[in-house]
């Protein structure tokens, strides 16, 4: 047992994904010090993994398969070894410090045939990390170990163009029990100077109600 915490109280709810985001975040921190809870979650996790087998099983609809594969074939996956090798070549060829130490721009990841530009985000008031990966004008926000938005709240993504008011990107997201998520931004970001994230009430807001907690400058 760790301190006065009820070590068997939250493990089951956590394994089921039933804790509120801030509770899950607190429980993850607790597990770092509590082997009892870690073991309990590991054991119950195996049970939870079996739950999908208990439901009626269907074939994936043919249209779904076609759409997935069409998008996959238009967007090649990454190859780490090729990524590293060609980045160095480009740096030498361009005479530019591709992997900038300062600022938001951190480098270029080359996927098979398409360059993914990576922009590191700045966080304010929350912990974790975030970056935006841009491929062919399409952006994906990747967050890791991010503080949950809190009960009754959700993260909302905005695009900023110069000094204009932020425009809703039609993206709301939370984070999983590890604080992770990868969120595709459906709007093309051409011309955007920044991608912002605010914490909003569930369901989102037409305008940001607070200062952004994640800022990714693209200029």
């Amino acid at each position: 047992m760790s301190g006065t915490h009820d070590c068997t109280g939250d493990a089951a709810a956590y394994a089921l994904g039933a804790l509120e985001p801030e509770e899950a975040s607190a429980f993850r921190e607790h597990m770092q010090q509590c082997a009892v809870c870690r073991d309990e979650v590991a054991a119950l996790g195996g049970v939870v993994q079996a739950l999908p087998t208990a439901i009626r099983q269907y074939e994936a609809p043919p249209g779904l398969r076609r759409r997935v594969m069409r998008e996959v074939r238009s967007e090649p996956a990454g190859s780490l070894t090729r990524r590293v090798g060609v980045v160095r070549t480009r740096a030498i060829a361009c005479g530019v410090a591709v992997m900038a130490a300062a600022g938001a721009f951190t480098g270029i990841e080359l996927t098979a045939g398409a360059a993914a530009t990576v922009f590191q985000a700045r966080l304010s008031g929350i912990s974790g990390s975030a970056q935006v990966r841009v491929t062919n004008g399409r952006a994906e926000l990747v967050v890791r170990h991010l503080t949950s938005p809190g009960h009754g709240h959700i993260y909302e993504v905005w695009l900023q163009y110069g000094t204009h008011a932020p425009v809703a990107a039609s993206v709301l997201f939370g984070v999983d029990s590890a604080g992770n998520n990868e969120v595709a931004i459906p709007r093309r970001i051409h011309g955007a100077s920044a991608i912002l994230v605010t914490s909003e009430p569930s369901g989102g807001s037409p305008k940001p109600t607070h200062a952004p907690v994640i800022v990714t400058r693209l200029d």
Binding site: A13, G17, L19, L51, A60, L64, A77, G174
Partner: protein, 194 residues
């Protein structure tokens, strides 16, 4: 080409993931053929809407493709990873709604009968395991089964379940713990757990 595809079908999931990391869309296609059905089935059970389930599964698989080789075998099987992503993405989609109740899911089911009739049900290959899990769930006291189903298949938090059932949150957590504990024993005895 034909012989390459047949060889891919013979690869284990973990080996296919290595191919995916190298950008092999054909390997990813084989993974989809193996796990797309269970992924869709889970999303459909949770969403109660075929269209929504398809959107969630499409989003999930594209994110898996973009993740390339980030699959970590020490964290579980490829199927477990895929279903975990689908489960999380479905809950994310629920969070975009301002309010969702168990009743709204029930009402949605009536409209879905037509869509469901067009779906092809499949015989689970590992039928004994599936039957074992279903049987173990049915053996639970209803109060414990309900909170597990509402949380896992419904995507509701323990707070939301407490409000729905007019119970203290601690009682809901307690029923989850007892229910999962009993399931663990039953599934272990049935040889379903790894």
């Amino acid at each position: 080409m034909f012989s390459q595809r047949r060889n891919l079908k013979q690869l284990a999931d973990e080996d296919l993931m290595l191919q995916v990391r190298e950008g092999d869309a054909r390997a990813f296609e084989v993974l989809f053929d193996r796990h797309g059905g269970p992924a869709f089935s889970l999303a459909y059970r949770m969403c109660g809407s075929r269209a929504r389930a398809e959107d969630v599964v499409q989003e999930a698989f594209i994110s898996l493709w973009r993740a390339g080789g980030r699959y970590d075998p020490s964290r579980g099987s490829v199927r477990t990873w895929i279903l975990s992503v689908v489960h999380n993405r479905t809950i994310d989609s629920f969070r975009r709604e301002s309010r969702r109740t168990a009743q709204s899911l029930e009402e949605g089911h009536a409209e879905e009968r037509v869509a469901a009739a067009e779906l092809t049900e499949v015989t689970v290959q590992r039928r004994a395991d599936a039957d074992g899990v279903r049987h173990a769930l049915l053996q639970l006291p209803e109060e414990q089964r309900k909170v597990i189903e509402l949380s896992y298949y419904g995507g509701f938090s323990h707070q939301e379940i407490a409000e729905m059932l007019a119970l203290p949150p601690g009682t809901v957590k307690g029923r989850m713990r007892l229910g999962l504990g009993k399931l663990r024993i039953s599934l272990d005895e049935a040889g379903v757990l790894p």
